[in-house]
């Protein structure tokens, strides 16, 4: 079980990003920033790391003249995050 604990998610921000994207489809950068209370740079670097591993998808579009970036999890991201959560829960149960 413990091998399912994924190193990619070993950051509060990444854990937070994945949690939000698990229950919402296409979330804006601004919304993520407000919910997680982190700086632009910090959030962007974590989002970049998750995208590099193909755990999230990025969509860039223009609304009028303003660029808008939205994010969503890939199927792979969902599977890995669920496994990570299960491993976390199992660890806690074992410790009881």
């Amino acid at each position: 079980m413990i091998e399912n604990l994924n190193k990619v998610f070993e950051s509060r921000v990444r854990l937070g990003i994945m949690s939000i994207l698990m229950v919402n489809e296409w979330v804006e950068f601004k919304t993520l920033k407000e919910l997680l209370k982190v700086t632009d740079g910090n959030l962007a670097s974590h989002l970049g790391a998750l995208e590099k591993k193909h755990l999230i998808e990025i969509n860039k579009e223009f609304v009028g003249k303003k660029p808008r970036t939205t994010y969503k999890t890939t199927l792979e991201g969902k599977v890995l995050f669920n496994k990570h959560l299960e491993a976390l829960e199992a660890l806690i149960k074992k410790g009881e």
């Binding site: 190193k7 509060r12 949690s19 698990m22 919402n24 919910l35 410790g95």
Partner: protein, 211 residues
């Protein structure tokens, strides 16, 4: 690999749960909104009952002539109660959202309002059609049933247990349809919009305001 203590792991899990909730549901409804809505509904029902009994005591001829005015009076009472109840509920919701740090107009509250309004507006239009066709006795059960459907529809975007209030409203509306006799509409209406709201509000207040 970083080894987390059990306390940290638990904290991590509860953070995940809270983020999932806050990002997808509008959870700033407070027990007080429910209680205040229920009280407004009961006061409204009492005023309506008083007006109906005054009209009923008038002698036959006048009573028949004045049924139309009574109907308008009841419609006005219902509208005023509705507006007061919505305003008071919004007031308590804003207060609660400030406490929870959730914005009153984010994506989740928009989804909540949209999903609440679709069955509600349909029900409202349907009731106007019923009144237009002089099927007044059908109005009370219809409002209860449509309101229940609206709550169940909206429960995906707010506190999940609001769907149980929805089921109760639907059952009550159907029962009202079975036991339909003069005056029953007002009774069922007061139970559905008054009593049930108060019970649900008290339950919520104790469940979420404990800590």
């Amino acid at each position: 690999m970083v080894v987390l203590t059990k306390k940290e792991q638990l904290q991590e899990l509860s953070e995940i749960r809270s983020l999932m909730e806050r990002s997808s549901r509008f959870i700033s409804l407070s027990g007080m909104s429910g209680i205040s809505t229920g009280i407004s509904a009961i006061i409204g029902a009492l005023i309506a009952y008083w007006r109906i009994s005054i009209y009923s005591h008038k002698d036959g001829g006048i009573y028949i002539d004045s049924v139309n005015t009574l109907m308008w009076e009841l419609i006005i009472i219902a509208s005023v109660v509705f507006i007061v109840a919505v305003c008071v509920a919004i007031f308590f919701t804003i207060k609660e959202s400030k406490k929870q740090g959730q914005s009153i107009f984010d994506k989740s509250s928009q989804q909540l309002i949209t999903n609440l309004l679709i069955p509600l507006v349909t029900g409202g239009a349907f009731c106007i059609i019923l009144i237009y066709n002089n099927m007044l006795w059908m109005v009370a059960p219809s409002t209860l049933i449509f309101y229940g459907l609206a709550l169940i529809n909206a429960s995906k975007f707010t506190l999940d247990n609001i769907k149980y209030l929805g089921f109760c409203e639907i059952i009550l509306g159907l029962l009202n349809g079975i036991w339909m006799s003069a005056g029953n509409g007002l009774l069922f209406w007061s139970i559905g919009f008054g009593l049930l709201h108060i019970i649900y509000g008290v339950f919520m207040h104790f469940k979420y305001n404990k800590g």
